[in-house]
Symmetry: C2
């Protein structure tokens, strides 16, 4: 049985392990100065370990970033799996999946902010890191749900891929709200009414 990480849980496992301390120190440093400008020395000093300990666990700074991405992907994957276990209409399942991911991001903002920033901003990590893992996980699950909704007649026979990209775009906009730098005033709009519009459409039905 899969469990969703509780909001207070540590994305990188037990805090007292050297591996976890290094990952947390790396998130701090990457978050403050960016991936490229952060040295291995800074990270080990921050984590209170020696360089060989970092190399033993991660091989390199790149390996460390890859491990951070992997842990984040595992957490997203666990949320997706958990949301799948509950049934309901496509609309309810999509709302639940989106809200669960929003909670995950709220619980692990600094880690996921670094993952998010690297996505846009560390071309030197390409192609070693699979940048599309989050998108595949989320859009893939949304496609499944939309497909199921079409089969029951709840949804129109739209292209499941296009519908999944649409819902993922809405989700992404709301997750971005959580991931932008602190102190930027937030948009005061909730996810649910915007998601509702994707189901109901902006145009009157042609038969009306």
């Amino acid at each position: 049985m899969q469990t969703t990480p509780a909001p207070s849980s540590d994305l990188f496992g037990r805090h007292d392990s050297a591996r976890c301390r290094i990952m947390q120190a790396a998130v701090d440093a990457f978050g403050r100065r960016g991936y490229a400008a952060t040295s291995v020395r800074e990270i080990v000093e921050h984590a209170g370990v020696t360089k060989p300990v970092l190399y033993y666990h991660f091989g390199s700074k790149e390996g460390l970033m890859k491990a951070i991405m992997d842990e984040a992907a595992k957490a997203v994957s666990a949320v997706v799996e958990h949301a799948r276990l509950e049934g309901g209409t496509a609309r309810a399942r999509i709302l639940r999946l989106c809200e669960s991911l929003q909670e995950l991001v709220r619980a692990h903002t600094s880690e996921l902010r670094v993952v998010h920033a690297v996505y846009y901003f560390a071309p030197e990590l390409l192609p070693k890191i699979d940048f599309r893992v989050f998108e595949r996980l989320i859009v893939g699950e949304l496609e499944e749900i939309v497909g199921a909704g079409i089969r029951t007649g709840e949804l129109k026979p739209v292209c499941p891929r296009h519908a999944a990209v649409l819902v993922a775009a809405v989700l992404s906009a709301f997750l971005d709200e959580e991931l932008i730098a602190r102190d930027v005033p937030r948009t005061e709009v909730d996810l649910e009414p915007v998601l509702d519009l994707t189901f109901d459409g902006l145009c009157p039905s042609p038969t009306a």
Copy 2:
């Protein structure tokens, strides 16, 4: 090695001015190493000017970043204004606005990538830079268009703000595709069919 600005690039004005060379050098350096890790010395060396020239034009590294944001906002504003001059249905106007912004981002990817990254990744610039300027410009215009569409009966009496946030989310997802690091494989989905789904909705009309 100095990156030459794209041939068509005129986001920062005339290429031969010191002001423009400094901004282009800053975009290049911020893009490679991030804002925090880039020194004024690196930028002036790159631009082939002296520090006093940079301070004369921008006051500080922060002032330089602010100027880059301002130029980008001006460019977005010009696209929004231009799209407004043409008429048509709300659906046509929204599609045109989104496609114009997509073209702008394609023409000025490196500059807008830096602006975008700072949004998530330079908390030290807060609150000196208005991070919401792009959102206000675009969501504001979308609200106008949705309001006009509701008045003509083309659109349902939805909340214009929610509708604008929905369309902006779709637009944002497609602009992000342009702004992510080079070499990340692109999603092979076009903007228009996804935007169409926002108008037509995923659910069958209740009367059908």
